[in-house]
Symmetry: C2
Subunit: 476 residues, 2 copies
């Protein structure tokens, strides 16, 4: 028994190694870095002891749920956003009116086909902006392709057929967003290509690394096609796509049936929700922190992008709670309509320009609420280097990635000379299990991972506020 | 609509940045590093295209389930382990007999108390090696403490009472294993301390970062206390611990009742399962890769340590699949009885010594199956530096942590001059949500995260086999 105890003790010493590592890193710090390191530790301690984001997210996802632009839920989310910003005690909170697209899904979609006498029901969902099928649905033979080029090459052969885009994610890409980027043209452009050649409809393999039964919705476009060339477009689950592909090999003439009743209504009035902490020294310099308040309708918009919303607000909460007074104005923005139009982002940038606001930077969280990995930096080379010099301050918190790259769809319209835009980058492995599906729900979010994200964001905002401000002063 | 498309395209370019980053890193490589980099990429591609670990884990967890040492399930797991090693086609597979402790939980535990006329049922589970309560259970007043020292200071005041250890995890520690290390003395030593002073029983707050309703079991000891001083010990859920603490403030004389019927039977015969790929150049040099086959009984032993088992075997599978022939012998070990005795680890080390085997190193996976973060290195300084020099090869896969530290309970008995022991370190944030509970089940494991872990392990085994072998040759 003594031996057992000894072993237990040994293995605990082993496990506590990381604490020592953190201390060792701190030893190599300059006096300024020690101050920064202490502030960062304070932000992390604070969120892990008294974070608010998880309960905010519960409220947003469970009491409002999915909130597609133009929907009653999106309208409720705006009221919720304004209320919660006021509760945090921001210096001012306001709504920015913006007209948004208003697409509605209608009745639950149906898809089915029969092969070898067996009828198979297919998990399916309409793509955002797609038109409906006729009331009686569409029944047609299926042509399977793996790319837009392969579809184009079919030309008039697709007349009267359903074109089935079935190129899967490249699962060997470590960053799952790269795999998404390599596939999503099928979803976005499939119908626009095939509508020109007289196809009857388009079905697309869901955008995911997994093989499962969830259809993933998402936006699509008809580009400038005349209305008579618009054809219905839908996503089927990855598992159903595999089965359909196998069935088509055996029975190329099988007929696929689907029915959907979605439609695009006139644009609806909506809002970006904006709140700010005024800067103490150069309040005219604005630093934006945000995510998007709208979501797809199928799930609860938890990872996409409820987490980004609550983390953004928690940055302000942590500043206030810990009496960190930013030199520049920190503005929290809940952008509307990222999913199907980014109208909120455009409106925000348009007003910033119109009001001659001086945006020095921005941070966006729209890659899920998983465990933190780092940030992606969209800035000039001197500011990129500046941000990368903070690696030793950030890496004890798992923030190792500080690569040049994009920031996010909602803040990138702000890009310009000397503007430093940053995208928060949590771990991406689980993200496309839930993205745009009915399973993007609150229970998929881990409290600690969410909170570590908030503190990660607050830390880089603290550093950017302090040092980009200095950069700005030097310039003047 | 065109604008929408443009924005979508922009945001996709943004998202695919990591691919470019990986390529950029590769540009700084020496010719030898380029070869290594290619091998590592092959291992990752292979596991993400044709990995086996996830289906192996499904089989182990769903068809066998929890497998506490000495249980029929542990015996089934041994047969399963031998069969699956043979299926992978290892050069030889054998069983190492080992006698293991045999503790059984008995009937489901019960706990309850009444305060202000309201009866509250408490989620509770006996701790491993605890004795039973009398058949009628224990009913006693409760003394709440936050540490072993606080308990000791109570001395004889605890006579006839139940001592309630309620120091929570320090949630501000980023590495959750550090928080566990800072709390688990209450679980391991609580009963041994309080038994001496005549306490009637011990209840311990569950070892977790979460506030939830799952009691977490785990091992405890009575040290060398005489039998008459052994008292029953159990864990209650963290949520129940919070509620009980509040109730005790209002009503310090409330009486807590619990009943458990666990007991320790005579030691049982069991086995380590061992298989190896013989080395092509110095087969007498052995490199061990392993996890533990036993688990606690409450859940399915998925993250602890089913994932370590299937990842270890997948290292061998990936070597064979990709025709990588190790220079040293790579030995896969499914250790028995890590949870309550580490008898398998001791037996393995004892036999290695007896047979004068030359162990040059080892790798253990026993920290869950979450997304990879790195390795912890237990080695002399030159080998530590050697391993740390591989950072640029490993970091494109999220493996940034290569700190000095412990390896794991099952391989650390092999430590010695020049032996390089490594612990695989996945992200720790979610681990103690499931650890030793009924919720440590298959569905908590993500396929990609599990597979990335296998490839991470295979990569460092590939590098260690190649370069530690060179080290060994140079020495000769």
């Amino acid at each position: 028994m003594k031996k057992l105890l000894l072993l237990t003790t040994i293995s605990l010493c082993i496990l506590s190694c990381n604490k020592k590592t953190e201390e060792k890193i701190a030893k190599g710090f300059s006096s300024e870095e020690k101050i920064d390191s202490t502030h960062i530790k304070t932000l992390f301690n604070s969120v892990l002891k008294e974070g608010k984001s998880y309960e905010w997210l519960r409220d947003l996802t469970k009491n409002i749920g999915g909130r597609l632009s133009g929907s009653p839920e999106a309208a409720k989310a705006v009221i919720w956003g304004e209320k919660i910003m006021n509760e945090v005690g921001l210096d001012s909170v306001w709504l920015q009116p913006v007209m948004v697209p208003h697409w509605v899904r209608g009745e639950k979609e149906i898809a089915t086909y029969t092969t070898n006498g067996i009828q198979k029901n297919v998990p399916i969902c309409a793509l955002g902006f797609s038109i409906a099928t006729p009331n009686t649905g569409i029944l047609a033979e299926v042509l399977e392709v793996k790319s837009l080029d392969e579809a184009k090459a079919l030309g008039k052969k697709m007349e009267g057929k359903i074109v089935f885009f079935n190129r899967p994610f490249d699962n060997t890409l470590i960053n799952t967003f790269s795999a998404y980027g390599g596939c999503v043209d099928q979803r976005v452009q499939g119908a626009a290509i095939c509508g020109q050649f007289g196809a009857k409809g388009v079905i697309v393999r869901s955008m995911t690394n997994s093989v499962d039964d969830f259809p993933h919705t998402g936006t699509m476009t008809y580009n400038d096609l005349p209305k008579e060339q618009h054809i219905p477009a839908a996503a089927i689950s990855s598992n159903a796509a595999n089965i359909l592909s196998t069935d088509l090999e055996k029975n190329p003439n099988l007929k696929f049936y689907f029915k959907q009743s979605c439609k695009t209504l006139p644009d609806a009035a909506s809002f970006n929700v904006v709140g700010e902490i005024r800067g103490t020294e150069t309040p005219e310099n604005v630093f934006v922190v945000g995510g998007h308040l709208d979501s797809w309708d199928l799930g609860e918009g938890a990872h996409d992008d409820g987490t980004g919303i609550v983390q953004s607000l928690e940055v302000a909460y942590l500043f206030k709670k810990n009496n960190i007074k930013p030199k520049n104005t920190i503005r929290i923005v809940f952008f509307m309509n990222e999913e199907n139009g980014t109208r909120g982002a455009k409106k925000y940038a348009e007003l910033a320009k119109f009001n001659k606001e001086n945006h020095i930077g921005g941070l966006e969280s729209d890659a899920g609420g998983h465990t933190p990995r780092g940030f992606s930096i969209q800035a000039n080379s001197s500011n990129t280097k500046l941000l990368q010099s903070w690696k030793k301050l950030l890496s004890p918190y798992g923030l190792h990635n500080l690569d040049k790259g994009g920031s996010g769809a909602d803040i990138s319209p702000l890009k310009g000379d000397g503007v430093t835009l940053v995208g928060y980058r949590p771990d991406s492995q689980r993200y496309f299990d839930y993205h745009h599906t009915s399973s993007d729900t609150f229970d998929k979010v881990n409290k600690r991972e969410l909170e570590l994200g908030s503190a990660s964001m607050a830390s880089i905002v603290y550093l950017m506020d302090k040092y980009l401000y200095k950069n700005t002063l030097i310039k003047q």
